[in-house]
Symmetry: C2
Subunit: 334 residues, 2 copies
């Protein structure tokens, strides 16, 4: 399409603001509004909240319905949560209007896992309305799901998929340092993790997306987490972690198929991590091993992954879409 794509931003926290700043840099987008439930933001200008005074028209509305009375976006960028069920609920009014929604919601990478009924219902709704919804990001969304699937594209057979990611959390934003348990007693962090209140979200979804793409019917998917314990005092911009306390996590997800195929992902995110990198290794014909030096940096890349998917999602069929369903074009700015 030669006209600009009209975009609204749902959620104006740090990630949402970063999304707005990236959208504003791209010539193919027009930012028409923002949505945030915080009363303090309602009525403000998106540009004022995001440090972009030139965005003088786009306002922040408390709900999609309020915004829709004033402006009509083509696309909503959703960066307001990790849970598939809640995201579907939040996005239903937009999808009913036939809009496209790209979300950083981790569980939305493979929503049939945690929200099977809702996925079917929303998919049906979208096919009627012309709406589309897609979950993406760097992890989940790229390093341990899309990239391995891309690599299998040149394989005659694949026996197993292994991926590992080591992230130096010292360079990351406060919410990430918090979710990896920084400064907590290891037992306390383990308890929070087992209650689903901390740790890396969307890990099973990465595994299930790869399995789905390969047509593998997996058995039980096991997910485990061990706190990483500081062997020296660590000081970040946001946390002070004494030796012996939690400085990060080591999370593992694994599964085997009845036919013996296996998928195994290993994630370490911790403060002062040495040798951050991403690695994907396929036991396959031909064998493939891809090493990403330094790894794909988080936050900034996550926002890019979301924004870059807008034209890709618009090119796909209506429905609940997966990253492996949409075309793999890059973004098109010139």
């Amino acid at each position: 399409m030669s006209r600009k794509i009209k975009v609204a931003q749902f959620g104006l926290g740090p990630i949402g603001q970063s999304s707005i700043r990236l959208l504003a840099e791209r010539e193919n987008f027009e930012i028409v509004g923002g949505i945030d439930i915080q009363p303090a933001l309602s009525g403000k200008l998106v540009g004022d909240v995001c440090g972009l005074p030139s965005l003088s028209k786009a306002k922040i509305y408390p709900t999609f319905e309020e915004m829709w009375k004033k402006v009509k976006p083509d696309v909503v960028v959703h960066t307001a949560g990790s849970r598939a069920k809640i995201t579907f609920e939040q996005c239903k009014p937009m999808l009913q209007k036939g809009l496209a929604v790209v979300s950083s919601c981790e569980e939305l990478l493979f929503p049939a896992h945690r929200a099977p009924n809702e996925t079917v219902a929303i998919d049906k709704l979208c096919r009627k309305s012309g709406g589309r919804i897609l979950g993406t990001g760097v992890n989940p969304g790229f390093v341990l799901d899309l990239l391995p699937v891309c690599l299998t594209g040149v394989c005659r057979t694949v026996q197993s998929v292994y991926g590992e990611r080591v992230v130096n959390a010292s360079t990351r934003r406060q919410p990430l340092q918090k979710k990896i348990g920084s400064g907590l007693e290891p037992k306390e962090f383990l308890k929070l993790w087992s209650e689903g209140k901390a740790g890396h979200a969307g890990f099973k979804e990465s595994l299930l997306l790869v399995a789905h793409s390969l047509g593998w019917k997996m058995g039980e998917v096991t997910e485990t987490m061990e706190p990483m314990v500081a062997d020296h005092d660590i000081q970040t911009e946001f946390f002070t972690v004494k030796k012996g306390l939690t400085c990060g996590l080591h999370q593992v997800v694994k599964s085997k198929s009845a036919k013996g195929h296996s998928i195994h992902f290993d994630l370490k995110m911790y403060l002062d991590a040495k040798d951050p990198h991403d690695l994907v290794k396929l036991e396959s014909d031909p064998p493939i091993e891809a090493y990403l030096k330094g790894g794909v940096a988080g936050d900034r890349a996550t926002v890019a992954a979301v924004v870059n998917c807008i034209p890709r999602l618009l090119a796909a069929q209506p429905g609940v879409r997966l990253m492996t369903d949409v075309p793999l074009s890059g973004f098109t700015v010139d």
Copy 2:
């Protein structure tokens, strides 16, 4: 689709035979016939030519029209040449019937470069008939085009794309060792290359596909080749190369956009190459560097790339398709 996909093979040389053997391993395909212009093959069984006696029904026909009288494939796998114009001409009758064609034709990766008018005409024809055609492979088709585009998916901005591939040609089939000039006087090989009769085909197409995906308008694309000269006597299964004669090629393709973006690919394919690998490096935010240890092995992977694209192409819209247009699902055997 739950029924098997009916596939015919166009071209029954070594690559076509390898394609048949891979198709036969996959439960989702049914091989219904072959097409080859060689009179000696006409009327034979595909299975007999490919060493698969269990394939007792599929015959080899001299033309698509002859085959169409007897069997009706959904898809044709085309492995019969490198030139876009000739491939379009060969595939036109199939596309008129609304079939999908996946081809290893190098120029078909970005056919608008060498066959702009034909690309428009065939695309128009396909949109009417429901036909689809796609060119793919490992190189071109994956290492220096699809993979870099995939990696840009998590970038906020991209300034340059660099890729290098070092292939140890000693482990490859005879036609590849021939096309890299093995055993020729360097001058003689350079002459053949400059006449388009030897060397790596589809290199400019890789660059142009990446540029297209990124929305970059490139200036002149320059392609150069220097023969690699043997520094010792080399003996392969197929060639004897004395010291001082050509043992391979070093081919480079480069371009810049008016806005200063650049793409640069460097390919070395030679006998007894040390440290074969693939590398993609993006000057981008965030920066990305992907190293594929050993590189993606050629011939067997090329056939896999082609066969794996069948369900991907069937999921895409009718028309002349690019690798960046089709969804990135892997193959689905279980």
